[in-house]
């Protein structure tokens, strides 16, 4: 019983502490790493033309840099999209500082040296001393790698630009001196300004002031507050989803703990009936006896809490490291918040206290005479006739015993079912998510999404597409906007979709699809709509640059970025003020060319900045789910352990009650093998029944989990598979014979003559 409650306590404290640790890691890394509070990206401009902003109240630090997209040709021949950060001379940087973790930083004078972001080292083997050739536009840069660096901007493995899915090693980042570029150009070009604000500064007001000041001379492309920074946003959303999974486990372990405690105390009271009757006959009343049992309950709750707290530390570290490994975090700051420890303590005391209180209801009904009267607990008509000796005495006896103790057997089966159903449900939910995502991406005929460095005019796009083996193509426009509602101001990437779009559309949820939008109408992603607290039909203010418009929400779509919005392409062009240009090309490759090969060919085009290949994005999503699969495997082991501990407890209680029956069997010459067979039959029957009961419960829990995931990402359609059940059921059944070991050892060591003598003395 203590073990079962302790597992519940350890899961509660361990999982929440793991989540807190991840959040704390995020905060610590960003704080210590001095991540920018705001970054504004704009069309590259001479530094001389960038307006002065240091005089604005609340601005603490300002850092300018030039970010240029390009590519590195890998040894395999593939072209790896690359961002080259041309940094100012001051070292270290005041905002988003680059920290060498292997090797040295470069001197501003050493223009041919660079630092490689750690993903480049981790996934592509780039080391200090290597040479790197980075193609930026028409110019090739030859670098010597002076070391490997970490930047808080890339806490997560670098990702694609169009889907909020980290893709390990999909983007290379290289840091070098600005001299590299200014020497060629003759002046200092910058395209990004990062800000750190003073403590207590109003980030919203400051942002408006900065946007206003900078837009006087610069063409702003993107405004990225800290909460919209890729890794910050992705981790926040992911942890939110992760947190949604925990309450189900706590409820289930709580229920199982209550059952375990209730059964233990009820059996204790039943087996002590005569002692209780004697005490009552001597004048002790219910309060005295209840106090004695409650004291026992408090001691057991303390033990369960202590054991649970002890286990929660390795459990936290296990979950944390599994998560960190799955998403590519390399630095962890574990914490054990007091409030989580208190929650675990509360769970222990509420579980044990509640169960003891329920058990005491039976005690309150006892009178001295009733307590002293022997309990008849034998055969009943209801199970005669169906079970015959033909199948062997061991099986008959085992099955009859389960029916005899139907309450205990039922509770055991229910608790086994609950603990197994939880993990089955997680398997169903994740498999369904996996299939839903894959189904979505595979449901449209696109192969590639091509992002341009700068928006292209229609004739340039046509020329680019015409020179490639492309069967069908469409364009999109993309730009940064801000939506304002009564709930607040939220940044969004607005994507303009042509009316004839067919290669890919966002997963539809409610209302109108983007191609059917009219002027002034937008479709929002679920999380964005939730943040803005709007539904189809509601109005919003849309801001782009210095222009403000009133728009109407006409639809909600699913998505995983949490901040994308859609409109008709002509309206988006109007909002973004980009004429007839396009930002993205979506293509379906010709039948005779592999999408990856087409991507390589397109990467040679100077206008192409980045390419997302469908199979890669599906692969990345599957790789991301791996974090949950790892956690789920740990949870499966825990759940099976709880089920086994439950069988161990109830079987041992049951066997102790039937000690005389087993002694009689041994006197008659029943072998230890047959006694083992009886116990294994009882354990396996309970486990199998538990699994059968778990099937419908798991579907019910899976519905809840799917709903939780749907509120953050896609509409997850439940698609349970046999494997979801077998992955839990088979280990549970195979391991169930182990649960008889304590009972078996008890019976093997049973002193026959003592047992018979004691029986005769009763």
């Amino acid at each position: 019983m203590v073990t079962i409650v302790a597992i519940g306590v350890s899961v509660t404290i361990g999982l929440y502490a793991a989540m807190d640790s991840l959040n704390h890691t995020l905060d610590t890394v960003y704080r210590e790493g001095e991540l920018a509070d705001l970054e504004i990206r704009f069309l590259a401009e001479d530094r001389q033309n960038v307006p002065e902003v240091r005089d604005i109240d609340g601005v603490e630090e300002v850092e300018t840099r030039l970010i240029m997209p390009g590519y590195i040709t890998l040894a395999s021949g593939r072209r790896l999209p690359t961002l080259v950060y041309f940094l100012p001379d001051e070292w270290p940087q005041r905002v988003n500082p680059i920290r060498p973790i292997d090797g040295d930083s470069f001197s501003p004078d050493s223009s041919s040296w660079c630092l490689a972001e750690r993903s480049l080292a981790a996934y592509h083997g780039v080391r200090k001393g290597d040479s790197l050739r980075v193609q930026v536009g028409y110019k090739a840069y030859e670098f010597h790698v002076s070391g490997v660096a970490f930047s808080p901007e890339y806490l997560m493995s670098a990702s694609t630009g169009n889907f909020l899915v980290p893709e390990k090693g999909a983007l290379a980042v290289v840091y070098t001196s600005q001299n590299q570029f200014s020497q060629n150009m003759g002046f200092e070009l910058v395209s990004s300004i990062s800000f750190r604000f003073q403590k207590g500064a109003d980030a919203v007001i400051l942002r408006k002031k900065l946007e206003s000041r900078l837009s006087e001379r610069l063409q702003i492309l993107e405004v990225i507050p800290k909460r919209e920074q890729f890794s910050y946003r992705w981790l926040s959303l992911d942890l939110e989803a992760y947190a949604g999974f925990i309450p189900v486990l706590i409820v289930i372990f709580g229920i199982v703990g209550i059952f375990a405690t209730f059964i233990t105390f009820t059996r204790m009271i039943l087996s002590n009936r005569r002692g209780i009757g004697t005490f009552m006959a001597l004048g002790y009343d219910f309060r005295h006896l209840a106090f004695a049992y409650l004291t026992g309950g408090v001691i057991l709750a303390c033990l369960a809490f202590g054991l649970g707290l002890f286990i929660s530390f390795p459990l936290r570290d296990l979950f944390m490291s599994a998560y960190a490994q799955a998403i590519g975090l390399y630095q962890m700051y574990p914490v054990m918040p007091v409030r989580r420890v208190l929650l675990g303590g509360a769970l222990s005391f509420v579980t044990v206290g509640g169960a003891v209180a329920i058990s005491l209801r039976y005690l309150s009904t006892l009178t001295p005479l009733r307590a002293l009267r022997p309990v008849q607990n034998g055969g009943k008509r209801r199970f005669s006739g169906n079970l015959k000796m033909g199948r062997g005495f061991a099986v008959t006896y085992a099955l009859r015993n389960l029916v005899r103790h139907s309450g205990l057997s039922g509770a055991t089966v229910f608790c086994i079912a609950l603990s197994l159903a939880a993990v089955m449900a997680y398997f169903i939910a994740l498999t369904s998510l996996d299939r839903t995502v894959e189904g979505f991406f595979r449901g449209y005929p696109w192969d590639l999404i091509v992002d341009f460095h700068t928006n292209l005019w229609p004739e340039d796009v046509e020329e680019l597409a015409a020179n490639q083996p492309i069967d069908a193509w469409e364009v999109r426009v993309k730009g940064h906007v801000t939506f304002t509602s009564e709930a607040g101001e939220y940044d969004s990437t607005l994507i303009g979709v042509p009316a004839s779009a067919a290669l890919i559309l966002p997963p539809h949820r409610i209302g109108t699809q983007p191609p059917d939008c009219q002027k002034g109408e937008v479709v929002l992603e679920t999380v964005l709509a939730r943040n803005l607290r709007v539904e189809p039909g509601d109005g919003l203010t849309l801001r782009s640059g210095q222009q403000t418009r009133h728009v109407r929400v006409v639809g909600i779509c699913a998505g995983i970025s949490g901040h994308t919005s859609f409109s008709r392409i002509d309206y988006a062009r109007d909002v973004l003020d980009i004429g007839e240009t396009s930002s993205i090309l979506i293509a379906k490759a010709s039948a005779d060319v592999e999408p990856e090969d087409l991507a390589d060919r397109l990467m040679q085009e100077p206008d192409v900045a980045y390419i997302t290949v469908q199979s890669n994005i599906v692969g990345s999503f599957k790789a991301l789910l791996e974090e949950f699969w790892v956690i789920l495997r740990i949870a499966t082991a825990l759940s099976i352990m709880v089920a086994l501990v439950f069988i161990i407890t109830t079987l041992l209680l049951s066997v102790m009650e039937r000690r005389d029956e087993f002694a009689t069997m041994k006197v008659m010459g029943v072998s230890q093998g047959r006694i083992g067979a009886i116990l294994i039959t009882e354990a396996m029957v309970q486990m199998v029944l538990g699994i059968l009961v778990a099937l419908p419960i798991s579907i019910w829990i899976a519905f809840y989990l799917a709903h939780s995931m749907s509120s953050l990402w896609f509409d997850v359609h439940l698609q349970p598979s046999l494997a979801n059940y077998l992955v839990v059921a088979i280990p549970a059944i195979v391991l169930s014979p182990l649960s008889v070991l304590p009972s078996y050892r008890y019976l093997v060591s049973l002193d026959l003559t003592d047992t018979i003598r004691n029986r005769n003395q009763e």
Binding site: R381, V667, M668, G669, V670, S671, N760
Partner: protein, 223 residues
């Protein structure tokens, strides 16, 4: 033939070692009906347990036929009890979840697994003990005397060489005791089964063809 040769047995009670049987020797003839009388704590149940291979003596030997069961390990002892001895207890010790028929059949069922069992023998012994009509009753649906007769049938079903009864009437009224002892006598006479009954009840002890008394670990014949 059961032969006990200088059998001793002591138990530990706390720090004390209490000798129950000391250098006890006796012979019980095949087909005899022996009653052993003695007060509580005289060691009569211990003697029965030793003959039933439920316990091993501290010293001495116990021969059942030509086999010395005092040297048996736990597995051999279990096989001996399974195949060669029927044991009856004061409190019947029936399995409450099995019917009368199943309780008896269990004794057959646990015998060598590979051998086909003749379950008609169950009906026969239940007939012999007068419980054919209660074959499918559960123990708690039977009276004490009926439960003890089921226990006797369970002891008999495998044709044991020896039937050991430990206070078989200790929990029954006089009329029931008489019925049970009548049955024991009939089994002994009709089937030639060696029956050994330990009791503190003089009226039960009187039913033995050979009557022994156990006092302070010494076995003496009762004239």
């Amino acid at each position: 033939m059961i032969r006990l040769n200088r059998v001793s047995k002591a138990f530990r009670q706390g720090t004390l070692r209490v000798a129950v049987l000391s250098d006890l020797s006796c012979t019980i003839r095949e087909g005899d009906l022996v009653t052993i009388q003695g007060v509580s704590g005289s060691g009569k149940s211990t003697l029965l347990h030793l003959i039933g291979a439920l316990e091993r003596p501290d010293s001495g030997s116990i021969l059942i036929g030509d086999q010395d069961i005092s040297t048996y390990d736990n597995r051999q002892a279990a096989v001996f009890r399974r195949d060669s001895v029927g044991i009856i207890f004061q409190f019947y010790n029936l399995i409450p979840t099995l019917t009368a028929w199943e309780n008896v059949a269990m004794a057959l069922d646990i015998m060598n697994g590979g051998i086909p069992k003749d379950y008609t023998r169950v009906d026969t012994v239940l007939e012999q003990v007068g419980l054919a009509s209660h074959a499918h009753a559960f123990p708690q649906e039977l009276s004490g005397g009926q439960q003890q007769r089921v226990a006797i049938a369970r002891g008999l079903v495998k044709h044991p060489a020896v039937l050991l009864a430990d206070e078989p009437t200790g929990n029954l009224d006089e009329a029931m005791s008489d019925q049970v002892m009548d049955l024991m006598v009939r089994i002994n006479e009709e089937q030639g089964t060696t029956v050994l009954v330990v009791t503190h009840d003089p009226s039960v002890a009187e039913r033995g063809r050979t009557r022994l008394k156990l006092h302070h670990g010494v076995l003496t014949p009762v004239p």
